[in-house]
Amino acid sequence: MDYTKQIKEIAGKLFSEEKIDVFIGYRNSGFDENQVPVLIHHYQDVDQLVFTEKSVFNLTNYLKYEHTRNKRVGLVVKGCDSRALNLMLTENQVKRENLYIVGIACEGVVDEAGQKAQNCLECVMPDSVVFDEMLGTPSGKREYQVNADIRELDGKELTERLTYFEEVFENCIRCNACRHSCPLCYCDKCCIDQETSTLYHGANTTSSAFHALMTWSLHLAGRCVDCRNCEKACPSHLPLHLLHKQNEKVVYENFQEHQAGMIEGDRGAFYKYSMSDPDDFIM
Amino acid sequence: MICTIDKIIQETPDIRTYRLKFREESLTEQFNWMPGQFVEFSLLGSGECTFCIASSATRKGAFDCSIKRAGIVTADIHRDLDEGDEVGIRGPYGNWFPLKDLKGKNLLFVGGGIGLAPLRSLIQYAIDNRSDYADFTILYGARTSADLCYKEELEEWKNNESLQMILTIDKPEDTWKEHVGVVPKILEEVVKPKVENTKVITCGPPIMIKYTLMSLDKLGFAPKDVITTLEMKMQCGLGKCGRCNIGSTYVCKDGPVFTYEELNTLPDEF
């Protein structure tokens, strides 16, 4: 998977036709094998752009920052990224007319070890679902399968699970990299910050990490698109996907096989009512 | 150290002054501070905030902190604290007004809104040592007459013949008999201070400071004769937590009192 040439061309064209103010893509870090997200503002910088299976980071994350808001933006999205973008469009975080979207029919990205990333193996929608231009040959939607880690976790005793997660949360340093890397965590003020909320204090204790991460994951229930920006961002390498995949499973099973961001304008599992929604928990 | 709230004075709709006394009386004698210093004030359970001491050590027995309702902790303070309640106090921290340099000089205080609080400690100090200073002028302004702090004391100062007191509010009001107009304007048009042998001590909202400094410049004051106290977010007060860094300066240790000359050497980040 290498679309470097095409993306350079597209970006160059957009700049020369003055259709965009900024193009968000990837460039080689120059220091190691990794790629770095880059915001290009000028035609002459277009040559920096690359796109290979190392283009991991979900670029829609940058749409939530001031410096791209209300600007005309071109960006590259893979399948999962485009689902996040769909949700951002639906939730009125970005304006469609401000975007030029280069969709990718993604063949999967690789992790640090050079292996195909786990979420790509489980990917349900590798093709971009919203785009102005598509690169590659779409391979279509795939069937949803329950994540292997979740199956294993479900098989464990409740106390065993608690012990496991306590260890996870003990290793959290509350750097909030997960939240800041998540394109769908776009709130200006977050309820898990000490400075803006009276619900949580800011101490980095296990219990506060527990509360913060649980609240965070519930806010993303039915919205998480499994791009795993959070997990890749985590300096403590915590298995954050477990929280989201569990929610995903519950939502899929209980809300008419809902999958986040698949359809433009779909407001998500918790925002629409259907007669067949489960109601046995209502007294 | 634990302090008991002796008295709460509602200064303006959103500013209250808390008069604090030490629970252990022995501490009252030990606790000494200079005008311009600050304390860390904790409402246990809500958090800690930095406030300047708004009264002078020449009037011992208790000390005042004037608190404006602004953030989470100050909102809790206003809501939860009653007279007789206990709060935690650390301090005093920071530097103080250069009393030695001020001796024998004309003093001109320029304050706005809650900015009178840090000045008040020095004003009280100077009133109590009146003979040390030459002319004594206070210019104080607020948005409306209701927003003026220390109303009783302002009255007292006005009646004090050894000093000149000028009050102003931004917009005219029916019952208002003093000046109307923003502080820098009044400073230029009404006060017309003499530059020679005068030290200006100013504090107020950032926008007022900005224009006051410009006016003072116009009037011919040298930057070294203009003293202000900085508002920066502080947390530890001990030169550790790094919050109040401006360049290599720690506002909590090297400040909060700076001359305008010193501020000019700092990176523009306050």
């Binding site: 300096p235 403590s236 | 508002e231 977010k233 790094g242 360049g247 290599s248």
Partner: protein, 349 residues
């Protein structure tokens, strides 16, 4: 100071480590979720003190933990009582194995801020009671640039005991401080006095290490030029892809900013001191709404200027030690090395 040097081989070193673990409270890098962190250990199994992989979290977490209790209190209608937190889990006598040298130097840098003016007694006690035993790196990894930052590879004084692998399984141990010297006197299982060849062989190892760096910069030049770069437009460019999380500061061996927070349940409460970072948008936000650093590039400017200019100005040492931890952990791989170089080399209009 007369340096005491011992020699041993791989097996002897293992025996030396094992004896330490048995006799002392010992911390060593332990693997968890695929990264190495300092944890308390009771056997050599499961930890690798000489692993070349840098730890994710720096050793500062053993001296300035991510969250520490500073006081306790009870507040009832009868009155308020404050109490010290008596149990400091990090204050006891202990040994830390496998500290990378950059990390250990980070502690020296931290000493400067913790020991000026008010002395942080907790920190001082933890420092005093700790013996740092650290392997001299063999090879610089991708993001290392410690040698560029005013640092002499032969100066190992940041560690109490240096472990130098000179090849062929041969290992030298050198006490670099008085504390380390006394420690080795009492704990010398598996060690024997070194012979005359030691000095030369160690020198060779240092040279080999110094030659293995991919990154280098001229620190003097950077430090000098950075001073006038406060208004550099490059800050805006280099910070444009930053996501404003706090990771870089939390993993950094020398970042020392913290916040204070209260946790209260009914009458009882604890006050904590936890990591905070200047990259956090709320870091300088004042209650009145004024924020001197409301945008990303200003926060990055503060971070890089503090690292390369301010701290040196104030305390005489550089706040960045070139360990590369921030780059490794950054969600978007921003390299501080690249940032300062770009800032210095960007022309100002």
């Amino acid at each position: 100071m007369n340096l005491t040097t011992y020699s041993t081989d791989s097996a002897g070193l293992q025996a030396f480590y094992e004896a330490i673990i048995n006799a002392h409270e010992t911390y060593a890098p332990v693997e968890k979720f695929g990264k190495y962190d300092f944890k308390k250990v009771d056997s050599l199994a499961g930890c690798d003190p000489d692993s070349p992989i840098p730890q994710t979290m720096s050793v500062k977490s053993l001296f300035f933990p991510k969250s520490a209790k500073v006081m306790k209190y009870t507040a009832t209608s009868e009155g308020t009582e404050l109490s010290d937190t008596t149990e400091d889990p990090l204050a006891g006598k202990r040994v830390v194995l496998g500290v990378k040298h950059c990390d250990a130097r980070g502690l020296q840098v931290l000493d400067a801020v913790y020991k000026w003016d008010y002395i942080d007694t907790d920190y001082e006690k933890r420092r005093e009671n700790t013996i740092l035993i650290s392997p001299r790196c063999d090879q610089a990894v991708t993001h290392c640039f410690c040698t560029s930052l005013d640092y002499d590879v032969e100066n190992l004084d940041a560690m109490d005991v240096a472990v130098i692998h000179v090849g062929d399984g041969k290992v030298y141990l050198q006490a670099r401080t008085e504390k380390g010297k006394n420690f080795l006197k009492e704990n010398n299982k598996g060690l024997s006095a070194a012979n005359g060849a030691a000095k030369e062989e160690m020198k060779k190892q240092y040279d080999k290490f110094a030659g293995s760096f991919r990154l280098s910069m001229d620190y003097k030049e950077i430090n000098e030029k950075m001073q006038d770069k406060f208004d550099s437009p490059a800050f805006e460019e280099v910070s444009s892809n930053c996501v404003s999380c706090n990771t870089c500061a939390f993993v950094c061996p020398t970042c020392h900013c913290f916040k204070i927070s209260d946790e209260k349940i009914r009458d009882k409460g604890v006050r904590y001191k936890s990591y905070d970072s200047c990259n956090n948008v709320y870091f300088t936000l004042m209650a009145g709404g004024h924020n001197p650093r409301p945008v990303k590039y200003r926060r990055w400017r503060q971070r890089s200027m503090h690292k390369f200019v301010y701290y040196k100005e104030r305390f005489g040492v550089n706040l960045c030690i070139g360990c590369g931890k921030c780059t490794i952990s950054c969600p978007v791989n921003i390299s501080i090395f690249e940032v300062v170089n770009k800032v210095v080399n960007t022309m100002q209009e």
